[in-house]
Subunit: 339 residues, 2 copies
């Protein structure tokens, strides 16, 4: 494991042209430690699948499509490490189960398993998964840009940006494409408790691109809808059920309900691989529960009394009827959904 | 200024029978420093109006009714400190304007000014304001308890508890009274960003009373409504307009919109003094904006990039049509409201 802390804005050797949180270079997986952003830009490079799996589990890399890329690269490393086909199968299952909610991880590992079974080169297959994700993000941006008004404030929750994908982003890809097309948009970023992806990641990557970004507490989203400032909400998804129910970072459902109340259009942007045709409705999507410490600790300080409990589901499911459209690389879908 | 750090659960001399965050004793205002909870129980005692006004501004004491008590005690101290009636009037105005959103502060200071003008004893009048608030909370509890189901999980946002009042609480008073009446209720506490009153204060004071309290991030409220776990939401209010629009801590509006979507009854509990008959609708309620640092800093760490902005309104306004009932000490009101 090589660790490299770079000055703000500087990228490691081999980094693609646009901001990418994870890429393959010379037999290693290179990724930015997203837990350390925005105050440190620390790039790690790994040559074992175990390191990459740990990085997924520890949220060093996060965002459903980026986790898919990480899983693909981990599988490519595992293909070189495993001594037998049987042990490789066990490893692939372990990688796929590192995190439960996003469907992209399982889908990417499944695609890698198929490629390996067909004798295709695992590194080329993993890179193809990465390339496909970037292309999907650009196509999502092109389709979604048309839906946003010519000016105003767009709300987003969590980080469905370059940092959550191979690059460009899904929800933020839509905003980037709209701005590139000349629309005058500014972004309100929900800080996104408990892990603060909106404050730490979304505001950081938008500022890198010179896009106006302001951070609000999650509870303020409804307020800015009520004042009429927000013209649209765009978020990503970790898994979309066949009926259009969308699992995404905890807090998304409240944004969607508030948007419905104030007639603000609420869009989900995600690659088509996020649709899990094996899941009929959102009720079947497993919701990851994470450690209580994400809530009990505020920096060094304990802010929840020791004799109180904590519940920490980190995803929720937005029912399809609250979603005005799902923007994918193959086009824009509207309800009733039937993937 | 005397500062006294007490062991957990121990109360300073003269403390009332039930938990009270602020009370008068021997010519001094005694208050618990709510910024230090739950990890330290620090009681301060002040004998100058300036100290009390600073404590209000710095959120050492918070919660609309408790701020009203603090303003009353500050006015009583000012009556002893001011050299002329004219200077006292100036001071009273300063005290009333220490925080802008809660109506109780202005109302309490106004009542003190009237008492002084009629030659009544200022300390007795301030104590009467405190006594009235405690009595109102108990009556609110009695009226509201009947509205809650016999068992289940109740959601609350911010702290409308003993710590926000002379004692017993408004929203938490309803829950306390229901439990005292034999209902089997547990409480989910929104942590309430940015100041974490739900995590630090609500969970703390419920745990003190042996009531089951679990803390969730604000964004998880809608999730637990969607799962069907939450049977009712009860919050306080900082100002209620004549038409029933309710200003309360930022995030309340999103809770109310989510509750409407999931058909969860949403109640506001507040003393009648919270109704501002001089304010026709919520649109006229001033919304306090607080420092960006409440959002940019997570403990010692800066979590918002330096080139991103922050918006920090700390109250929002829930339209009356989202409020199933407003519970006051004089009874339960339902829309259309016309106070």
């Amino acid at each position: 494991m090589a660790v490299q802390s770079l000055p703000p804005g500087q990228r490691p050797p081999g980094h693609p042209d646009l901001l990418s949180p994870i890429f393959w270079r010379d037999g290693r997986v290179v990724m930015i430690d997203q837990r350390r952003l925005p105050d440190a830009e620390l790039w790690n490079s790994y040559d074992s699948w175990q390191d990459v799996a740990r990085a997924i589990a520890d949220l060093e890399v996060r965002g459903a499509p980026a986790i898919g890329c990480a899983g693909a690269f981990a599988a490519a490393l595992a293909a070189g490490q495993a001594s037998t086909a049987a042990s490789l199968r066990v490893i692939l299952r372990q990688i796929a189960e590192t995190r439960p909610t996003a469907v992209n991880l399982g889908a990417a590992v499944h695609r890698m398993a198929n490629a390996l079974a067909s004798g295709r080169d695992p590194v080329r297959e993993a890179q193809a998964i990465w390339d496909d994700d970037l292309a999907a993000c650009r196509a999502i941006g092109a389709h979604g840009a048309a839906l946003l008004p010519d000016e105003g404030t767009v709300l987003t929750h969590c980080n469905a940006g370059a940092l959550a994908t191979a690059g460009f982003g899904t929800a933020l890809g839509v905003i980037r494409a709209a701005i590139a097309a000349g629309k005058r948009l500014r972004v309100l970023c929900d800080e996104t408790r408990p892990f603060l992806q909106g404050a730490r990641l979304t505001a950081w990557e938008l500022a890198q691109d010179g896009i106006s970004a302001e951070v609000i507490v999650d509870g303020a989203a409804a307020h800015f809808m009520g004042t009429g400032e927000i013209v649209a909400a765009v978020v990503g998804a970790d898994r979309i059920a066949r009926n259009g129910d969308c699992a995404n970072k905890i807090g998304t459902l409240g944004v969607a309900a508030s948007a419905a109340f104030f007639n603000v259009p609420f869009y989900v942007a995600a690659p088509h691989t996020t649709v899990d045709v094996g899941t009929a409705t959102g009720a079947k999507i497993p919701i990851e529960q994470r450690a209580a410490e994400e809530i009990t600790q505020f920096g060094a300080r304990r802010v929840v009394p020791v004799n109180a409990g904590v519940r920490n589901p980190v995803f929720d499911v937005t029912p399809a009827r609250l979603v005005k459209a799902i923007i994918t690389e193959t086009g824009v879908f509207q309800g009733p959904y039937g993937f």
